[in-house]
Amino acid sequence: MIEQTILFVTSIILILLAMASMFYSRNLIKTLMSFQILVFGINLALFTNSVGGGVDLLANTLVLFSVLVGASVETVGLALIIQIYRKYGTLDPHKLRRLRQ
């Protein structure tokens, strides 16, 4: 049971760290890396339920779903970043906001 607590605390640390990094980030690539760490934290939190009580199929199903949806979102995000760079020539969200106005 102590292992479940350790994993759960780790997952909360990862989720909050990634959210803070997304807030402070000045680069869209960094924001996407933060999103990836957010997905890691969510996967670990979903997986924590199955620790200690054998293999939990429900937790495994949820993690699989989360992994694939996270990967899809990240793929689209990377493609959008390339398009934004082609159009505006920068990846800084503050500069992008100024360029749009």
């Binding site: 049971m1 102590i2 292992e3 479940q4 607590t5 350790i6 994993l7 759960f8 605390v9 780790t10 997952s11 909360i12 640390i13 990862l14 909050l16 760290l17 990634a18 803070a20 990094s21 402070y24 980030s25 000045r26 680069n27 690539i29 960094k30 996407l32 890396m33 990836q36 760490i37 997905v39 890691f40 996967n43 997986f47 339920n49 199955s50 620790v51 009580g53 054998g54 199929l57 429900l58 495994n60 199903t61 993690v63 699989l64 779903f65 992994v67 694939l68 949806v69 990967a71 899809s72 979102v73 793929t75 689209v76 990377l78 493609a79 959008l80 970043i81 390339i82 082609r86 990846l91």
Partner: protein, 159 residues
């Protein structure tokens, strides 16, 4: 599985993630993100979810890392600025303290409810609709691939 190994792996996961987010060099950040993914896969493997670990490794440490690398090469970004680093470090310390407090409290609640057996109807529901679940996953993946290809394609006007 001994608790010490779990603690070591969790510390390694947090350190690689934080260093990856703090690093200003693109290559270092990407390598540390890869290591972070590998450590998470080791955690999955030692707790008996080898298939999830394999899928996670293939997708995040493999495909997504390569796509991130390609994006970095195309955009030519060598410096990943994260703004004011002092504020960010202070936020990290605050977050770790808050997470330990929150995590311990929530884990206590989880422990109290863990004695209740899982509802059989829920598992039956998940198992009955498993093909639909897989179909939705395939549709999401296909849609993301089509969107990415569409966004990456160069039109005649751009050429």
């Amino acid at each position: 599985m001994s608790v010490e190994i779990s603690i070591l792996l969790c510390i390694a996961l947090i350190i690689t993630s934080v260093t990856s987010l703090l690093s200003k060099t693109v290559s270092l950040s990407l390598i540390l993100l890869f290591y972070s993914s590998v450590v998470l896969n080791i955690i999955f493997t030692i707790y008996g979810a080898a298939i999830i670990a394999l899928i996670h490794l293939v997708i995040f440490a493999g495909a997504i890392s390569v796509m991130l690398l390609v994006t970095i090469v195309i955009t030519g970004e060598a410096n990943l600025s994260i703004g004011n680093i002092k504020n960010y470090v202070l936020t990290i310390i605050f977050i770790i303290a808050l997470s330990v407090f929150l995590g311990l409290n929530i884990a206590r609640e989880l422990r109290a409810s863990s004695g209740i057996p899982l509802n059989g109807e829920l598992l039956e529901f998940v198992w009955t609709y498993r093909p639909w679940d897989l179909l939705i996953l395939i549709i999401i993946l296909a849609a993301s691939m089509v969107t990415a290809l569409n966004l990456l394609s160069i039109t005649r006007e751009e050429q």
